[in-house]
Symmetry: C2
Subunit: 221 residues, 2 copies
Amino acid sequence: MLSITEENYLKSIYKIAESDGIPVSTNSVAARMQTTAASVTDMIKRLSDKELLEYEKYHGVQLTEQGSRVATQLIRKHRLWEVFLTDQLGFRWDEVHDIAEELEHIQSPQLIERLDRFLGHPRFDPHGDPIPDANGHWEHRQQVLLSELLPGQAGIVTGVNDHSPAFLQYLQQLGLTLGARISLQETVAYDQSLQVVIEYGAPQNLSDKVARNLYVHPSAE
Amino acid sequence: MLSITEENYLKSIYKIAESDGIPVSTNSVAARMQTTAASVTDMIKRLSDKELLEYEKYHGVQLTEQGSRVATQLIRKHRLWEVFLTDQLGFRWDEVHDIAEELEHIQSPQLIERLDRFLGHPRFDPHGDPIPDANGHWEHRQQVLLSELLPGQAGIVTGVNDHSPAFLQYLQQLGLTLGARISLQETVAYDQSLQVVIEYGAPQNLSDKVARNLYVHPSAE
DNA sequence: ATATTTTTTTTGACTTGCCTAAAAATTTAT
DNA sequence: ATAAATTTTTAGGCAAGTCAAAAAAAATAT
Ligand SMILES: [Mn+2]
Ligand SMILES: [Mn+2]
Ligand SMILES: [Mn+2]
Ligand SMILES: [Mn+2]
């Protein structure tokens, strides 16, 4: 059985590999885990001994099949609990991450399968992220960053790139929650900001920072 | 913030004090926690430093106000999660203890208050044990052990003294779940076993061991 | 090609939580 | 009251996980 710490390392390495590619560097893990490179080297050796990752000194790590499976199951648990927290307990989407960060470590395959059934086998979490099934597979949704839309195009909000409470709260305030419709009128050359219409409201301006952190499913316009 | 281990010690000490009285001995804690007396002495010192209990060398410990509060809130969380697992996820009463043993350590007062509301503010857990409220108070129910009933008396099952899966499964099989009616016909002097009628069925014999581990609310006959 | 900077590993040390074995204190029996 | 048994503490040590500082390797700049 793995410790909570070991599980968190595996999940971090998995996510870094997903976004930055492999191999995963010691420093990138240290940054994400808010710890030191020395601690990471230490843990990497232990996880390597347990055959959860492959480690070549000075050249980073790569999860093994087994390590990947642990990571995706953690992600499955994390996202299912997030659905529970929002849909059943009424938490807002910006409040659930930290709690799910703890709940994901509860050890009971039975619990998670029953929770999944209870929730109606949701395929996406409250932030639009896909929920892996018991075999580690998930649905890939066609989506692009808002910043990639062309003027005149519209889209349905499907997810976020930045999961910080600050960003999520701001989106909520703008009405840019999952499923909301947004259409792009024009881009402002000066600062890459966008002129958009949210749910047929009054036109307004969104920064490029917002646009680069919001996923939409392009729809007809 | 307390570690999971520290929390488990506090809960154990609280429960021992509840059943055996104070002060709580080092050995009794070691037995309940399945560890050694040396480890307990070690932890006791740490908890004493944190003012969660009062410790007099060689004379056992006693929880402080603060230590008691931590313990009752853990019990509250444990029992609320047990209700969730049985009522919402469909677990049997003999399956929930170990999972709740982990869930009780999730750190989020908001979570537990929302869970409580979601469950409809239950006052008893699936084993008939009372659930402390946010202030650490709970309802005291009038109940006696089945072994204390007199021949001719009847009662409604309200709880168990032994929480082991084996006992709970056996009770289930007998139909002796919470709310079931049981009437005592006579006691057998030879082995203290009881001749009983469960829910108006055929008379049958129950060992004194069962009788000493089942709580009933005496009712008219 | 060499020097400089950055990244990674090693070393030594600390805390938490655990253990066994030995010593000390307390309780029980005689 | 003393001896024996039991309980508790102390001592010394181990594994996990952490850190700061020093050393080594790799990457980058000149
Ligand atoms: Mn986590
Ligand atoms: Mn999420
Ligand atoms: Mn516990
Ligand atoms: Mn219970």
